[in-house]
C-alpha cells in the first residue's frame, strides 16, 4: 500500500551526485569507483611535502561524535584540514544531550552556526539518515558510523586498499570474518563488495554473531574458518568487543581465537598472496595473531593511510554535490522570477 522506498536516495542529488554519505547500500558502481579514483589521487598527494588542497577553503566542518572514538575522529579532522576546511570537534557524548537536549535541537543549533558539513558518529542505527532527511538536509552529512547500520568511509577505505593491492574486484574471492551481527563496518563492506562486482563474498562466524538472513546480502555463509578461508584473496577481519562474552554470545576469547582467530596456520588455506585486513583497533590474540597482524600479508597500516584519502574524497564530493544542488535551486528560482517578471512586463504593456 506504500510506495517502494529507496532510503539511500537521500544521499544523492537529483542528477545522482553524492550530497551526503550515509551508506554504501544502493549506490551505483560508477559512484563507488569515482570515490576510489578521487581517493587515489589524494593518497599520492599525502606522500608529498605539502599535503593541502584548497577544495574546502572557507568551509566549516563540524565533527559530531556522540560516541567516543579518537582514531576515526583524528582521521576525519586530518582529512578536513588537508582540504583546508575550518574544523570544529564536538564530543557530544559528554555534553548537551545529557542535559536533555534532543538530537534535533543539538543539530539545529550547530546548523545555525552555519556549518557546511557534519561528520556524525552516533550509537543509534539510522541517526545519520535521520539528520540528513529530517533535520538539516542543507548540510552535508558524512556518516562516521551509526549503530550497527553503516560505516561507509571505513568500507570505502577497505575497498581502496583492496584495489591498490589486488586490482580488479571481479576476479576476487573475499571473506569477512567475525562479529557481523554487531558490525556496521561489515554491513557497509558487504554492500560495497557486492556492488563492485566481487566474484565471491563469504562470511565466516559462529551463528551467535550472524544476523538473521545474512545470506540476503548475496554472501555465502561459513561456520568453519578453514573451509571459509580456502583460496580467498582477501581476509577482512572484524573487531570483537569484550562484552560479547558477558552477553552469552561466546564462551570465551580463547575459544573464539581457537576457532575463528586468523593465524599463519589458518592462512595457509587461503590464496598464497592473500592479504589480511582489520579496521582497528586490534585485539591481538583474539581476532588475529600478532604474527599475522605484523606480518607481510597484513595491510592494516595501509588501511589507515587510505582512510584519510577516502575521507577527503567523500568530503569534497559531498560538498560539491551540496553546492550543485544549491546552484540548481538558485537557477530554478531565478528562472521562475524571470518568468514572473516577463509576465508582469507583458501585463504592463497590455
Amino acid at each position: 500500500m506504500f510506495e517502494t522506498k529507496h532510503p539511500y536516495r537521500v544521499q544523492l542529488t537529483e542528477s545522482g551526485q553524492l550530497k551526503h554519505f550515509i551508506t554504501t547500500e544502493g549506490l551505483p558502481r560508477e559512484l563507488l569507483t569515482e570515490i576510489l579514483d578521487t581517493a587515489d589521487s589524494f593518497v599520492d598527494m599525502g606522500a608529498q611535502q605539502v599535503k593541502k588542497v584548497p577544495l574546502l577553503r572557507g568551509r566549516t566542518v563540524a565533527n559530531l561524535f556522540f560516541e567516543n572514538s579518537t582514531r576515526t575522529l583524528s582521521t576525519f579532522e586530518l582529512a578536513a584540514k588537508r582540504l583546508s576546511a575550518d574544523v570544529l570537534n564536538l564530543n557530544i557524548a559528554t555534553s548537551s544531550t545529557k542535559k536533555g537536549e534532543t538530537l534535533k535541537d543539538t543539530l539545529m543549533t550547530l546548523a545555525a552556526m552555519q556549518s557546511d558539513m557534519f561528520v556524525v558518529r552516533h550509537s543509534d542505527s539510522g541517526a545519520a539518515h535521520f539528520i540528513a532527511s529530517e533535520v538539516t538536509p542543507g548540510v552535508a552529512i558524512i556518516n562516521a558510523g551509526d549503530g550497527r547500520h553503516a560505516h561507509p568511509t571505513q568500507a570505502m577505505l577497505d575497498m581502496l586498499t583492496i584495489r591498490r593491492h589486488k586490482g580488479d574486484f571481479t576476479q576476487l574471492r573475499i571473506a569477512v570474518v567475525g562479529d557481523v551481527l554487531h558490525s556496521r563496518v561489515a554491513r557497509s563492506q558487504l554492500h560495497a563488495l557486492r556492488t563492485l562486482g566481487v566474484a565471491e563474498v563469504r562470511v565466516i562466524a559462529p551463528r551467535t554473531l550472524l544476523p538473521r538472513d545474512v545470506e540476503n546480502f548475496g554472501v555465502k555463509v561459513y561456520q568453519d574458518l578453514t573451509e571459509g578461508l580456502r583460496d580467498v584473496d582477501v581476509v577482512m577481519t572484524l573487531r570483537l568487543q569484550r562484552e560479547r562474552m558477558t552477553s552469552a554470545l561466546l564462551p570465551s576469547e580463547s575459544e573464539y581465537f581457537k576457532l575463528y582467530g586468523i593465524t599463519d596456520d589458518r592462512l595457509a588455506y587461503a590464496h598464497p598472496e592473500a592479504i589480511v585486513m582489520h579496521p582497528g583497533p586490534i585485539n591481538r590474540g583474539v581476532e588475529i595473531s600478532s604474527a599475522v597482524a605484523d606480518g607481510k600479508r597484513s595491510v592494516i597500516l595501509d588501511q589507515v593511510t587510505n582512510g584519510i584519502a577516502v575521507r577527503m574524497a567523500v568530503m569534497s564530493m559531498a560538498m560539491s554535490g551540496q553546492q550543485a544542488e544549491r546552484q540548481a535551486r538558485a537557477d530554478a528560482e531565478a528562472a521562475a522570477a524571470a518568468e514572473q517578471g516577463a509576465e508582469q512586463g507583458a501585463a504592463n504593456e497590455a
Binding site: 532510503p7 534532543t102 543509534d124 542505527s125 539510522g126 539518515h129 535521520f130 551509526d146 554491513r187
Partner: protein, 424 residues
Amino acid sequence: MKLKIAGGRVIDPAQNLDQVTDIYIDAGAILALGDEPEGFVAEEVIDASGQIVAPGFIDLCAQLGEPGQTQRGTIASETAAAAAGGITTLVTPPTTIPVVDTTAVAELIQDRAQDSGFARVLPLGALTKGLEGEQLAPMHALATSGCIGFSNARQPITSSMVLMRALEYAATHDLLVVFQAEDRSLVGSGCMHDGSTATRLGLIGIPAAAETIEVSRCLLLVEETGVRAHFGQLSCAGSVKLIEEARLQGLPVTADVSAHQLLLTDEQVDGFDSMFHVNPPFRSVADRDALRNGLVTGTITAICSDHQPQDEIAKEAPFAATEIGISSLETLLPLSLLMVEEGWLELPQLIERLSKNPAQILGIEAGTLEVGSAADIAIFDPELRWSPTADQLRSKGKNTPFKALELKGRVTLTLLGGTPVFRL
C-alpha cells in the same frame, strides 16, 4: 430525544440483519426497526441513504494518555477521536501513570470519560500491584469499581508462580484476564521484527519467539487455572497457531489483532521511518497472512485499534530512540475495510469483528442494534475518501504512517446512547 435514521443499509450481525431499513430511537435506546411505531414523531431525521448503519464499534485496546501523560492525549481528546472513528466503547490498558491498581484511578478514568461524554471507557485493572509482577492487585475491588478485566500489559511477570496465582485469583471471581504476550528477555533492546530488513538496517530484531513463548506459558496456565483469557494484538503466525490449538482444545481463550498488523510488514521500516515503530513489531508477509487467515477462520475474533497517541517530539529521533505506537482510533474503520476490499471478509463479517465479537469477549451488553439496547451507532460512508492528516485527526496524537495515503471509508455520524457525539 426522538431520532429516526432513515434509508441506511443497516448491518447488525447480532441479529443477522443486513437490509435497507429505518431505525427509531427514543430515550437513548433503540425503539424499533423497520416500520414506524405508531405516534412516533422524530425530532430529527438522519438521512443515511447510501451509507452503512452499524452498531458502534468496540475497541479492545486504546491508550488515552490520561492520567499521567496528557501531552500524548487526554480522555476528552481521545474519546472525541474514538467518536470520530465510530467507536462507542473502548477498553483502555492499565498503563497509566499512576497505573490502574487502585479504585481511585479506575474511577477517575470513568468519571472523566463520562464528563467528556464521547464514548464509554472501560478500564483494565492491573493484574499485579504497580504492574511490577510481584504482588496481586486488588482485583475484586477494581472489578467492583468498573474494571472490565485485568492485565499486566507488556510488563513482565517473571515468576510463573506469581502469574499462576494471579490467574487463580482472577478465576475465583470469574474475571477476564487480558494478555499482551511478550517475553522481555527476548525483546531485549529490539525495536523491529528480526528479519532481513532489520539485518540490513542494523536495527536490533525482536524474534517471533518473544511472543510465542509467552503465549505458550500463558496458555498452559490458563489450562491449569481455567481463567477466562483474551490475547491482545497478536503479531505472528506462531501465536495464531497456538491460540487455534487452545480453542480446539476447548480452552476459554479469545484473541484480537490490530488493524495495522493486518496490513503492514517489517519491510515498511526500510527508510527508518519512526511512524512504523510499533510493538509488537510489524512482522513478515507470512505472519501478516497468518493473522488475516486467523481473522477469517475465527481464531482471531476481533480487530482493535491499538491506539497509542504520541506528541510530535516523541517520533523525532533515530528509529530505535523514538516512542512506539500509532494514533489509530480514527483509522480503525478505513484500515479494516481493506480486509473487505481485498476479499478476506464480507462487510457484515467485518462489522461483527468490530462490534458483536468484542462485546462477547468482554461479556458486555453492547455491539447490537436490537430493540431495547442502547443506541450506540456508527453511520459510515464506505466509499468516502480521505487522508488522516494532522488537521483531520481529532486525536492529540498525529502519529500515523497513513497520513500520506488516501483511505476509503469514513464515519459520518456517531450516536452514543442516542446522542450524536460526532458529525462529519
